[in-house]
Symmetry: C2
Subunit: 145 residues, 2 copies
Amino acid sequence: MDKKELFNQFVAFTTAVHQVTHELTQNVKIDNITPVQYKILEYIKVSQPVTPTEISDCQHMSLPNTSRELRKLQERKLIKKINDTEDRRKHYVCLTEDGEKVMEKAFACIEERFQQLIQHASKKDLDDIHHALNILDQKVFNPKS
Amino acid sequence: MDKKELFNQFVAFTTAVHQVTHELTQNVKIDNITPVQYKILEYIKVSQPVTPTEISDCQHMSLPNTSRELRKLQERKLIKKINDTEDRRKHYVCLTEDGEKVMEKAFACIEERFQQLIQHASKKDLDDIHHALNILDQKVFNPKS
DNA sequence: TCCATTACTTATCATTTGATAACTAAATAA
DNA sequence: TTATTTAGTTATCAAATGATAAGTAATGGA
């Protein structure tokens, strides 16, 4: 396996991944939520509690802009802020009950589409997919070393 | 392998893919090119010749907005339009020589970062990665019925 | 021929996103 | 104590993106 060839395969693959994730998530729109706000909610959902700084880092946006979007989400009662008792400059962001509901619904919708995507996969196919995901995670996408 | 569990793994995986592609492509900025314009150039580079309608479909943007961005790219002499001889409403979009240079440089930079990412992979690792990409492509990301 | 459709363009406006300066308050180091 | 750094906010402006209406020109079908 030539490394150059592998790169080409990698590019095609990531393009396909982006394409499919777009299809799975499109129209999973919570009313009046912008794409950036949705991304933030998604991140909070899987990683909560998180600080604004963490959101800022992971979503590649400036802290002022993060703060603005969080304020909007808080105004819509989708998230809440909890003060850190140790360091009072910090605070943690969590989903409210409403926010949880909304995100669970969104994820359920995405999962349904995902299950359709693999509906014809055999038991062995599923194992193969699981294994392939593990390999790529370990060797390419989660370079923990 | 539980399908529900596989979904969770899938979500974590796609997040990691997005993260890594972001790292590979960040700062591969051609001067004064917006993210959307870069995406269009990338698509043209790998798929040329393409029509504005195809770009519109693949990049999920309206034809008027596609037309606007193509005009800007043409003004900067990065792309050119070629009329279809059969159907004179259509035309094909290609990179100019300048555009080719610029995109080759961008891809070279991305490839270099990719090679760094897998620099410690053994021969067997590379084969495993290649195989895993194939599996996922066939069974998940390129659902050619 | 006439009409509907397709491919694309131009123009305009609203919204979203990005960037930056200036600020508060708390923590930490000198 | 004082100075510096860190975490976050507010405000403001510019730029990028999205949505839509209205237009041209070519095609294709009735």
